[in-house]
Symmetry: C2
Subunit: 334 residues, 2 copies
């Protein structure tokens, strides 16, 4: 095979077939994909969830992950945030001419590893190549299909006054890890992306409580934007306590140096949950037994006052409004 | 709203929400999308088909269509090529900073029009923005879910010796239309892309015959590459007759000027079908009653000899091997 991706790898002709059949299909190795028809097919029943995301992170390899792992985990997590068990993924690659084939292979292997970790199967895909300078190395799209268990109705619109607000672990790791790699920031050395599939964590939470109202992964825009979304969708107020919001020291230090607020920095392996206060302790206990929820914490509550607004009690004991992100301090973080 | 797309439109913050809630969601207007959760959900049963494609065509507006119509039709058609009725689409946009919002809106409206034409619903989506120079204006990914009717088993692996080979209309329109726009070729003036959803045509074919073995839309790589794919997948030989392959005069003339073979030029509203010879005439009659099959024609047959090989009887009465496309004469055509 060639050393670098050529335009002809996207032609639909011989080199396209070589790339797909000799490199990609063997990595994602499964009988549904191997049929190589225009669509894959599978038997279905009940309620299904469907989602998509494109990934444009730069650089494509960063501490703790890469664009491939990100693309699989991001879509697995979007399915998980409605309580669905992720089943099938599609993978679509937009490659800049000249990308080393070895890097494409590394990304694809990383996708398959993440898919195995989550227990999902890549059953259909597409590869396009654009001329040098028309894209930045590699963009990845994944779409996903999951099964929503019977009786589960989780939505950003379902948070209710009296719910506890839970986060699954420390905030801001992903954004700072990508930023540090991009800018060569020595003070952020050692911070790794939290990118991880959260479906097993969510299933454990569902076993601990049948009353989870809202789930969301605070990616772009961070926890602050996610809480604002839910406050608006559910028409509730949200109160959080800065003291209770977990942030690693290294991330906090990096944020201070960069003038960033960790509440606005992207996460790729964290979730926020709203559920009745009575169920909060058992759910947090169940989360802490899971690899990706070991530092889960209750950080606040949902209230009826000031619907649509998120308010934080600061370390100083004062209150401040936490608004949705404005501007874009960290572009191309996912 | 701003005049142009800013990086902050991809931040996950306020401008992202504005773009999604004030521009995109109202265009794709439907209750499943409007929930704005991380995944959309829907009830399912039976066998489903799943597919994805990214679209990188340049320019994004071309005679007869645009990247939005292409992205909807392409995925609708990939679902149709396994006999599925397309139901739901995801739409994921990668936008270059600086793209006029009016162009984004025009593309989104075109997607919705094509979706209505096909009878599919856009239920989930994503928008990313990359800095100026990191992508070429706009890339669009669509993934799609369709329902495979009971008893339908259509695959590129199912062509059988004795099958007729049918195409739904003249070849090469899409590739030549995009090329003419890109290069300002006056001799190709008047050629329009054939980009169209083929699901209604396929449903009409399924009503006319219960024995359709293989369907495929000859996009990138053209009819030649598609026939080679099927010949390899089904381990059959394919014989076509140049005289019977429909090509518009303007397309043929443009191909001659450009040194292209219309057999290798992309189509976006055509299909090739393999089915038992006895059913070929009724299927062609049914196709000709449909808007996107009015020039359907039998162009050859499937045989047991020379499995994996496509041979064409030329206008001169000689035979030549029709190989898969090599190289990439028309990059970024879809």
């Amino acid at each position: 095979m060639q050393e670098r991706v050529l335009l002809a790898h996207g032609s639909g002709g011989k080199l396209s077939h070589d790339l797909v059949e000799r490199l990609l299909v063997p990595i994602f190795n499964n009988p549904l994909l191997e049929k190589l028809d225009d669509s894959a097919s599978f038997p279905a029943s009940g309620r299904l969830a469907f989602t998509t995301d494109s990934y444009i992170v730069t650089p494509i390899f960063f501490p703790g992950g890469d664009i491939g792992r990100l693309a699989v985990c991001g879509t697995v997590n979007d399915l998980s945030m409605v309580g669905a068990r992720p089943l099938y993924l599609s993978v679509s690659l937009i490659v800049e001419e000249g990308l080393p084939i070895a890097e494409l292979e590394r990304v694809a292997r990383s996708m398959q590893e993440a898919a195995e970790e989550a227990g999902v199967t890549v059953i259909t895909g597409d590869t396009k190549v654009v001329n040098h300078g028309s894209a930045d190395r590699l963009f990845v799209n994944t779409a996903g299909i999951g099964k929503v268990p019977e009786g589960v109705d989780i939505s950003g619109s379902n948070a209710r006054p009296g719910d506890a607000v839970i986060v699954s672990g420390p905030l801001g790791d992903h954004g700072i890890a990508v930023m540090s790699q991009r800018e060569g920031l020595s003070f952020a050395a050692g911070v790794e992306s939290d990118v991880a599939p959260l479906n097993h964590l969510v299933q454990a939470m569902l076993r601990a409580s049948g009353r989870i109202h809202a789930l969301r992964d605070p990616t772009r825009g961070g926890l602050a934007s996610t809480l604002n979304e839910i406050a608006r969708q559910s028409q509730v107020g949200i109160r959080i306590d800065e003291e209770l919001v977990p942030v690693r020291d290294a991330v906090r230090a990096a944020c201070e140096m960069l003038g960033l607020d960790p509440l606005y920095v992207a996460n790729e392996g964290k979730l926020v949950a709203m559920l009745p206060e009575e169920d909060a302790e058992p759910v947090v206990r169940a989360m802490r037994k899971e690899r990706h929820g070991s530092a889960a914490a209750i950080i606040g509550r949902v209230c009826a006052e000031e619907p649509g607004r998120v308010v934080m009690r600061t370390r100083l004991g004062t209150s401040r409004i936490v608004d949705m992100l404005t501007g874009e301090p960290l572009p191309r973080i996912c």
